[in-house]
Structure formats: C-alpha cells, structure tokens
C-alpha cells in the first residue's frame, strides 16, 4: 500500500503544479513509513519540504498555503502526534469556508498514519478517526487497499475542501494489490462491496478490513454468506449502500478499531436503526476497541478486534441475539 501511495503522490506532483508536500522527515528520509520516498530528489526541496518538528505549525502553514492557492499535502507522523495540530484543524482548517461563506477555502490534505499493529511506543497506535468525523467541515478518508489508497489520495488532493486522510499503519507493507499506472482516482462517498452475501452485513474500513474479510471467509465455511462493506470515506458517508445491504440481510456487525464510546460504529448503528429498523432480525452489533488507552505491545492484542471477536459477534447476530 505504501508504494501505491508513493506513486499517487508522485503522479499528483507531476500533474498539479500547485501541489506541495510538507512534514517532518518527508524529504531526505522519505517519511517514517517511506511513503514520500524519493519524491524530494525528483520534485525538489521547494515542493517536498522537510519542516521543523511542529505539528500545529505544519497544519497551520499548510492552511495558509492552501488559502493562497496551493494544494498542500501535510504529513503528520502518527495520529497520536496530531493532537497538537487539532486546534488548527478544528478551529480553522474545517471552518474557513463557512467563516468566509465560500470566499476563502483551504483545499489541503492532512495525511496521518493510524492504528495499532507495529508495537511501537505509546501514542503510535491511535485510532481516533471519530474525532475528525465529528468535526463539521472535514472530509475523512480511510483506505484499505493499495488501489484505494492511491485513488482516494488523488481525489483528496483535487478536492476543494480539507481532507483528513488516515492511513492504516499495519497495511502499509502487509496489504498488497495491483494499482494502475498512473493510479485511477476513486470518488468520495462510495462504499465498496468487497464480498457479496445474503445472510449478514459486515461493515468496516481501513486497518480492520483484512481481518473482516478473513472472518467472512471463515463464516462462509460455516455456511454463512456475509456481505462485506468497506466504507472508504466516513465523511461523506455512503449510507445508501449500507442500507441496501442491511435491508437484504437483516443482520449487521460493525467493526472498528477505535474506542467504543462515541466511535464511528455508534453513529452508523444509530443511522441503521433510524432508517432500517424493520429490516433488522437482530440487534446491530459492534466489535470495537475498548474505552481504554491502546495497550502497549505486550497487551495490544487484548484491544484490537480479532477475527475471533468478529466471528463471535457474527454468530450471535445470526442467532438473533
């Protein structure tokens, strides 16, 4: 997936003279996860900019650049390091269009690796996408495949509004797949049905998708055909695809790595019961991280939803409980 994103950024820099990349270590070193590898050498230090270690400054400067007419792609190294920039995102980036009634806009992309799975130190495993989805004025994108990562990134840079682009850390190297050259753009607000099925709807996004697909395979072996939906973008949300599937299956399990309370699964569960209550044969189930700090490496497995937990929730939904 990381290579697909590098190709997408390379493509964007080649076709959009207003595009610039900035962040900590994005230039010479190619970024913590090497997503910007080689891009400074190819496109120059003026367009692939190594910045001071200052997240608020990176996002605030990118905001100004965007208002001036550039299309900045800012990188924050880990979601747990994005909180110093949160004020810029919530108070300014997401609001300038409304504050100025379309007169000024900030078409920037903030790329942030997120999620557990690499056993790094505290703050390196966050999955707090709900904070951004809760913030009016932001688009929130979370790809799960290389083609989507590249295609959604191209769409994000061209989008007239600010985009928070969350990249699943454990998928960077692990998730592989074909990507067109140059990558084909993928529209926002269109969920992907990764697997058709008639018995149960499994909904997830980003880093949890490989485990959800594994669970669907195991369910199939038990004779349960699960339809698997990858939301791809939380804002805008393709509720239509979700409701269409739910109206066919009547049973839903939502899988999210983020904390349980006020997580995106809660919003989705509420929307499903608002619009499709009479299709439901079982309560809408959630498989989530817990309301704990994400545990460090040795206990991390207790936190991140496992295939076993997804299976258990699916089996309960099939039993109608």
């Amino acid at each position: 997936m990381a290579q697909a994103m590098t190709a997408a950024l390379d493509h964007v820099l080649a076709i959009d003279p207003a595009a610039v990349l900035l962040g900590e270590d994005v230039g010479l070193s190619g970024g913590v996860f090497r997503v910007t590898d080689g891009l400074q050498a190819k496109h120059g230090v003026e367009r692939v900019i190594d910045t001071p270690v200052a997240e608020s400054g990176i996002v605030g400067a990118a905001f100004g650049m965007a208002v001036a007419g550039l299309h900045p792609v800012a990188e924050i190294q880990f979601l747990g390091f994005a909180y110093p920039a949160f004020d810029q995102v919530v108070s300014h980036v997401s609001r300038i269009r409304n504050r100025s009634q379309h007169r000024f806009t900030a078409p920037l992309v903030i790329r942030i690796p997120y999620g557990a799975g690499i056993g790094a130190a505290e703050h390196h495993s966050e999955s707090t996408e709900a904070l951004f989805a809760h913030t009016p004025g932001l688009k929130v994108v979370i790809p799960s495949t290389p083609a989507d990562a590249a295609g959604l990134l191209i769409t994000a840079v061209a989008d007239p509004d600010p985009v928070v682009f969350l990249e699943p850390i454990r998928s960077y190297r692990r998730v592989r797949g074909e990507v067109a050259e140059p990558p084909t753009s993928v529209p926002f607000g269109e969920a992907a049905v990764r697997r058709p099925g008639t018995d149960l709807t499994l909904i997830s996004y980003g880093a949890m998708m490989p485990d959800v697909l594994d669970a669907a395979d195991q369910l199939a072996a038990e004779g349960v055909e699960a339809e698997v939906i990858d939301l791809r973008t939380l804002v805008p949300l393709d509720l239509e695809t979700v409701l269409e599937s739910v109206s066919g299956t009547g049973r839903v399990v939502i899988v999210q790595e983020g904390h349980r309370t006020c997580g995106f699964a809660a919003e989705l569960a509420a929307s499903i019961q608002e619009h499709a209550l009479y299709s439901l044969e079982a309560p809408v189930a959630r498989v989530t991280g817990w309301d704990t700090v994400v545990p460090l490496r040795r206990a991390e497995h207790q936190y991140v939803p496992s295939v076993a937990r997804i299976m258990a929730a699916a089996q309960a939904a099939m039993a109608g409980v």
């Binding site: 207003a18 610039v20 003026e46 900019i49 910045t51 001071p52 200052a54 608020s56 400054g57 605030g60 400067a61 990118a62 905001f63 100004g64 650049m65 965007a66 208002v67 001036a68 007419g69 550039l70 110093p84 004020d87 810029q88 108070s91 300014h92 300038i96 269009r97 409304n98 504050r99 100025s100 009634q101 379309h102 007169r103 000024f104 806009t105 009016p136 004025g137 688009k139 007239p160 509004d161 607000g189 804002v235 805008p236 949300l237 393709d238 509720l239 239509e240 608002e274 619009h275």
Partner: protein, 343 residues
C-alpha cells in the same frame, strides 16, 4: 524604542510621510475612531453582539498597513478592524460580523484580508503559510499579521515565528503590546524585557516602536515590508501601545487596573499628536477636522445600514457553506430542519 512623533506633535526624527500622506493617514485614524465609538454605542443599544474596542491603537494599525501594497495579506484579530479596513475590508462586513452573521467574513474579491481570528494566537502561522504560498506561486505579496502581547504566550506564536525564520517567509509580525490581555498585565505574559527581543531567538530582526506614534510604526513597517518583499525574510515589530477601553463591552477594567493608567495613556493619544503636528505645520484646521468626522460618520452610518438591512441567513442556509458541495448527510439534516421527515 523607536520614537519619531512626540506627544506634543514635535519631531524627534525624520517624518516618513509627506504632509499629504500624513493627512490621508490622519483621516484614516479619524475614520477608525469613529467606527470604534459607534461600535461600542451600537453594542450598548443591543444591535451588536460583543464589541472589542481598539481605541488608542489606531496608529499601530493604520501605520502598519500604510506600508502594504493593495494586494498584500492582512491576517488579524477581533481588535484589528482599523488594520483590516485599511487593507480594503469594508466597514459593512466588519459590522455584519459583529451583529453575529457569517457573511461578515466574506470581503469582496481581491481583498486579501482573512476574517478576524477570534481565538488567540492560532492565526499568525496562517500568515506564514500565506506568505510562503504566495512566494511559491511566484508572486511578491507580503503577509502582515496583527496580534497582541497575550498572543505571544501561545505555543502557536513560537511555531509561527520559528517557521517564518527557518523558511525565510515574507511575513511581518506586528504585535500590538497594549499592556493587557483582558485582565492579565504584560509582565504576567512574559519575563522577557521586551517582546521585540523574542525575534533574536528566531533569527529575524525585532523592532520596538512607540505604538502610539504613527511615524514610528509607519517607518518600521515600511522597513519590514521592503525587506520581506525583497526576499530578506520576516520581521517582528513590537508596537508599544495601550488598550484605553475595556477588553470587550462585557469587560470591566475597574476590576483589575487603576483608572490613572487610562488617563495617563490618553495624554499620549495617537490621533492628537498627529493633529498637533499638522496644526504646527499649518495643515490642520478645526473646520477640516469637522469635515473629516462628518464624512466618516456618514460613511459608517451607511455601512451600519447595509449590515442591518441584510436579512439573517434564510431557512437551511446554515448548511450551504460547510463544503463546496453538500454531503448527503448535510442534505438530510437540512431536510429535517426544514420540517421534512428524517429519511
């Protein structure tokens, strides 16, 4: 501290402006004072939400912007209406914002002034990004950002100054050190002897000027803007001034400072000293002044009329500027607000 125009109207250095230019800037300060007085009065009549007076800071704002070209950027705060107006932001927009209407934040096309920052300190880095972006796009526009002594305590001040220094962006930081952040005095914001000296740590020049001295601020701003446009990088200017009025119309300075301070600073009024200077040169008459005040008052009454004549945002229009194109979720919510079913 750079001082040119003394409180008695005499010169302690070379005037940076011709007599005609001085008269133009004097007229601008009279307009700004008129707006400010009317702003406070309108709030007391319940026609504005809160109002933040900048009385006494007219020279810092008018003098600062006097150095800018019409297409340069101004990134300022809720107390910087004079600076914003000097750079083209209409009085009507400023009033409209104060009535509590988002459309106040939409100045005409071509006016490169962001709507005022309401939170303290986060906007300075925006000026850095704007200046950087303009430079990247091959334009020689400069960005000037206005903030107070209180804002220098925010972490974002450090990040903005640091980025500007490292990337040598064409930005001018104009701090109006008006001695108080609501009730907190300047000495509680920083143990630095001056705010200007903070520039040293970021590798940029820092200039401390008498902020009630139109000539000193104007000269310092011209130097900083010229340097920035020529590729010489950023500058920090500390304009030492005083917030003669309350923080906002919701504030009572009697709770935290002695009135004698206000009385003392009124003796150093920025408008009075330009008047004395022009009068000594035979360029000021009471009649001309009355004309200026009448013209400013009429212009500002028109602006108030324009702001108040605008109907509030119509039903559902609060959804219209969240994105370029509304998301399905916003469409649905708008439908509910408009009385439709939640479907």
């Amino acid at each position: 501290m750079l001082e040119i125009l003394q409180p008695d109207g005499s010169l302690a250095g070379e005037a940076p402006f011709s007599v005609d230019e001085t008269k133009r800037l004097y007229a601008a300060m009279v307009s700004a004072r008129t707006y400010d007085t009317k702003g406070t009065a309108l709030q007391k009549q319940g026609r504005l939400a809160t109002y933040a007076s900048f009385e006494g800071q007219e020279a810092a704002q008018v003098g600062g912007v006097s150095a800018l070209r019409a297409d340069d950027w101004v990134v300022a705060t809720y107390r910087d209406a004079a600076a914003m107006w000097m750079q083209g932001y209409p009085w009507a927009n400023l009033f409209l914002g104060r009535t509590g209407d988002e459309r106040g934040g939409s100045p005409p096309e071509g006016v490169n002034v962001l709507p005022p920052s309401i939170t303290v300190g986060a906007h300075m880095i925006h000026a850095v990004g704007l200046a950087w972006g303009e430079n990247h796009l091959g334009r020689d526009r400069v960005a000037m950002t206005f903030f107070g002594d209180g804002a220098t305590s925010e972490g974002d001040f450090h990040e903005a100054m640091n980025f500007a220094g490292v990337f040598h962006t064409p930005v001018v930081f104009l701090c109006q050190n008006n001695q108080y952040a609501i009730s907190t005095p300047r000495h509680r914001q920083t143990a630095s002897e001056t705010i200007a000296q903070k520039a040293d740590a970021y590798g940029m020049p820092g200039l401390q000027v008498d902020g009630n001295d139109l000539f000193a601020v104007g000269a310092a701003a011209a130097e900083a803007v010229t340097r920035a446009r020529a590729g010489g990088g950023p500058t920090l200017i500390e304009a030492v001034t005083f917030r003669v009025g309350p923080h906002t119309t919701a504030d009572d300075p009697g709770r935290y400072r002695d009135e004698s301070e206000e009385v003392e600073w009124r003796q150093r009024d920025p408008i009075d000293r330009v008047r004395r200077y022009l009068e000594a040169a035979g360029e000021w008459t009471a009649e001309w002044n009355a004309q200026l005040e009448a013209a400013a008052s009429a212009e500002i009454e028109v602006a108030i009329g324009q702001a108040e004549a605008l109907e509030p945002l119509g039903p559902g229009e609060i959804f219209d500027a969240m994105f370029e194109t509304k998301t399905p979720q916003l469409d649905r919510q708008r439908g509910i607000l408009m009385g439709g079913p939640d479907e």
